[in-house]
Symmetry: D2
Subunit: 378 residues, 4 copies
């Protein structure tokens, strides 16, 4: 089976997310980057593409040209899937055009800027039947996948308590400085939508708890923090959660947890045990069972599920990281494109991206209405 | 200066809390246990007291006898302070009688069963001027004291985010078994008051955040969990907090966090940095400053405050634990009794005990009224 | 049963070791400190003893008076056991006199200044049949005891590799400063014997590996470090070990591991698994079994042995520390004195103290002879 | 600048090392894999190469054909550098032929099977002037590079104590089973040279301490363990070290540390402080300075050196792992090939590979001669 031809929108010179996606796509020898539009300025895009060793013919002026030209090619030579790494507000129009034109899509999160847009994509994809992955990167870690599997297997029994934290501190030096604040796109509703903290990292936390528990959040009550009256965007928030399975939970997200880097922690407790995982030390999964020694599971061991093991390339003790996690998501999407789906949850679905958009909107609504309970689906 | 004469109520044979208080009282050579009522059954109390090597004359039949007989003694020979380690519902009548009769008091938490009772004690103590300590044990750890001092000194700047967790799992094997549940006094409102989880451990968390931040919680919104409809007592809860200093926070407490032992964690974030402390590893205090290496402070080093250093008996690297923490509180009370107060916060005041009672009542009220904001002081 | 009457030699005002022993003796309500000689200066001793609330009649001018006067008392009133906390060179004459006069003895380490002296005590004690404990404090930790038990039970199978580290950094600021060096008694062979690092902490490490493995070291090859030619005392060393059970091992000790506090770590590997313990986090015991999740055992859980559980006073999650560890050793000695021995290894025997002296002498010999193998017993 | 054309020898289907090198080569967009010999069986190599999307014309029958055919190509189209991932005994003849024919070389470790062979390569390379990197993977971690820089900058002062541990347990289930043992190539001197443990992992440890300290080991005294008399290969060993800078040290390596995965730990102590790093948690570097809080440095922060920062692709808190470490080494080699060397130590030199071979031979000699001191250079 030959490699999948991959195009990229955005992610050019100096883009970190570009590096992440390109490396991830290379990890399992499933993809070949063949072209794209790396920058809105054509020259920059062209130069960057050349540096990657790409055929200049496939370094397009813009998405329209890409679609037009690629569609002229023979099917076996055509770009099959496109990674959308452009600024958030472009995700929707680009992804829409791509699905309409029968490309598979890999889209960065947040999927869109509104839930309305997200629903449009969901309907369109249902109609077109293309593969559409949203890169909630963290679900690609082997120990997250192991956690999901163990919960599904009943290792911790019926879930009774969910606790998720996503704490960063990077906005702290910005928020207290009005000048810096005004030049930060994440704090500009025009560019970033209705939410900063919940939109950027709260959605990861939300997706993660639904992912690992296999349960849906039914109701939320949110308290957000804007710190300054003239700051229109939340930079911290706590969301009380009620799950379909009757469990209660709490989601905490912050960008003013000064000194925190990317401290994303998940704790799930059931009738038979508890499980804990931390993104900054992703190769440790803690299983707590009452009256038993704490167990620490690590990647690559035979005691892990096949799904988890698929995501580890080297033997135990050789730490893999976030590039590898993204690589696993790319692998899941490749398998789906190749019609060889092996595991549920192998990549985040478009529907999860849409659900994230709904979560953001409902969270802001709960807060604005006075910290009241709101149903997620009504 | 001779040792302070200490009496004990409760804490007899097989009592863990009794061991904790006796050992703590011995740590700085400030106290001498001379008598008390160790058990409601006189014979048991007598036997136990003899095992401790006490004079049988001071092993009293009950509190009334104790008060009567001790008051007959010359002042320099009289019991000066009494530790109240009896079941919760007895704290109030006993403490009241003791203060009325001019004893200093050390009382286990929760101080009383209602806030009304607590207020009575506060008023009485103000009138009598006796020393009255409430054993929120955890505030005695050297690194908690260091945290308090560093926050007061402005090391992390103005506080903007408070997060406190107190997770245990011990009720999990009980709550799902109706028989066990009915025989657990903590789950019996008649014995344990209106709250289990918030009353037992939520108050510790509440006291701790007010202690280290030096700020008061002004408003709360609580969501408690009872898991079963026929269970009258909360066993888990999340409380949103708003502080006098405008910071927001969240307090999480659970007794159904299966597999957790005594996972009490405090995270305080300010404009200049963050501080973290965990009870199960009490000798590590984490200071996070944006763009600087994480710093880990440990007890006994010269970089700690005098208040913190007073609470460490051995050089760095010799781990002290919860007995030592309680020992530090006993030391603070001894210094107060001896009129040699050195540090604010050296022991938890009666007022803090009373405030804990108020927190419990308001938390339950917020939950019962539909998870709404309630002012703590109105 | 009434409390054991305990006397103390040394450990007066400002003595840390004095605090440690007094608190430890109080932890299980087995001992009552009744007198002793706390300081060579009688007035100081007297004042200190009064502060402890002791009867001035039993605050003796010196050891001779103590022995004479105590022997005049009725047996049930007499001091039964004496803790020897004086400078190292006094351990031998004092302990000898005490055993000769039928006192039980608790002696700080190092037991003596030479192996010759130690042998005299061993012979004397055999003749007199008194209880004689040497306070290798670290063997009192519950998880060390659990480790010993698990190895004895075959949990890790036949031992094949032993690794023990005892790293401190406290001599670093002294060793490079000739003035400070000359005023440090540990670096003065006249006061401290033939070895500094091996004598002070290497012996702990040596005792620990023999204690937990139940095997004896048969041969050693040592390389010591003195850093400066004019420094007569080792401050760092590595010792290759060969055990009776054919396992090989390595012991590393240093007082110039700059920045280390009291980093004493034991790693034992067998055919079936490995065990690891660290003194600075004494409540965690790591069990590694090939192909299984890492297990972390903690004190107070039912999965621990009775011997381990005896050494934990509070439920899991309430950290106990080094005072508690010493308390456990005092408990073991109390049980022995009371004729109620429950567990092998409940306190370090005189023979272990003597063996430590032999280890020091042989280690220095191996180094001085050019880093060659030497038999421990010949 | 266009990408460097990379060829690969070995590393075909199911090869983990092949994945590691291919992914690493892709990480900074500096290389393009264009061909090679992935398997000694031509068909397998061909099929695998096609799966990678390579031009079948450059999937050669063997190294001779590769050299011949590539040399026919125009210089700008020719393979510039070749990664040698074949079994150990082939490293020497292949690397030799490659250098002779003017290819740059990236060679897995151990470089050769004897020090004699290694010297031949060193001389040849000096003559030919080609770039030759040896993939001691662990030196690519950002925090190892930071450690090297800090030591060079004098942060911990003059080094006085070096301690390095490389513990694995994977041979444990093999060594006790004669059948398994005989089918393990690492335990077969014919395939693996004169040493198993020291040759495989001891060399990593040796290279690491010379790398980070910038000092050379001058003398060694080794004690190896073979466990069984009929096992010809060491599976565990301790090596005493003396450095050019007068520091002493100890290197410990084991493959029978049951339950250990890849526990490679480096501790360096100087007059001013200590530094610690552990491969299994590679993103934490511990700086201990006497009397100061412990500092924990992490990748990507501005306080790190440029050399360290070059090796981090994402912001702090996004864990990178061993693939990224190898990627950094490939980057260093790419920069060298492109004549843009930026940092000393950016990739392990041929000379370091040769020195590793010498270390192996001298270690075995020291052991066999009765655990005696041997000079590394004589």
């Amino acid at each position: 089976m030959s490699k999948i031809k991959l195009g990229i929108l955005g992610g050019g010179e100096d883009s970190l997310i570009g590096v992440l996606h390109r490396v991830a796509s290379s990890m399992f020898d499933k993809y070949e980057v063949v072209g794209g539009v790396f920058d809105p300025t054509y020259d920059k895009s062209l130069n960057f593409g050349k540096k990657l060793g790409l055929d200049p013919d496939r370094l397009y002026r813009d998405l329209d040209h890409l679609v037009e030209e690629e569609n002229k090619r023979a099917e076996e030579d055509r770009i099959q899937v496109i990674s959308v790494l452009t600024p958030n507000f472009l995700h929707f129009p680009m992804a829409k055009k791509l699905v309409e034109n029968n490309f598979h899509v890999i889209c960065e999160k947040p999927l869109t800027t509104t839930y309305e847009e997200a629903k449009v994509l969901v309907d369109l994809q249902a109609e077109k039947g293309k593969i559409f992955g949203v890169t909630y990167t963290y679900t690609g870690y082997p120990m997250v996948r192991q956690m999901k599997q163990m919960i599904a297997d009943g290792v911790i029994g019926k879930i009774q308590k969910v606790d998720v934290q996503y704490y960063q501190g990077w906005i702290n030096p910005i928020i207290h400085d009005k000048e810096k604040r005004s030049s930060t796109w994440r704090l500009d509703p025009g560019k970033s939508g209705i939410s900063c903290c919940i939109g950027d990292i709260g959605t990861h936390a939300f997706n993660m708890v639904e992912y690992v528990t296999g349960q849906q959040v039914e109701q939320i009550l949110a308290d957000l923090n804007y710190l300054y009256e003239d700051n229109p965007m939340d930079i911290d928030g706590t969301v009380l959660l009620r799950f379909s399975g009757k469990a209660k939970g709490v989601l905490r997200a912050s960008q003013i947890a000064t000194g925190e880097e990317n401290n994303f922690t998940v704790q799930i407790y059931g009738e038979k045990g508890g499980l804990k995982w931390q993104q900054e030390n992703p190769n440790y999964l803690y299983l707590m069972v009452d009256g038993k020694p704490l167990q620490v599971l690590k990647p690559g061991h035979v005691y892990n599920s096949d799904f988890s093991l698929e995501g580890t390339k080297l033997p135990p003790g050789h730490p893999e990281g976030i590039f590898d996690s993204m690589g696993n998501i790319y692998l899941g999407i490749a398998n789906a494109i190749n019609g060889k789906k092996k595991f549920d949850g192998a990549y985040p679905l478009l529907q999860e991206g849409a659900r994230g958009m709904k979560f953001i909107e409902k969270t802001v609504a709960s807060h604005k209405e006075g910290n009241v309970w709101i149903k997620l689906d009504d």
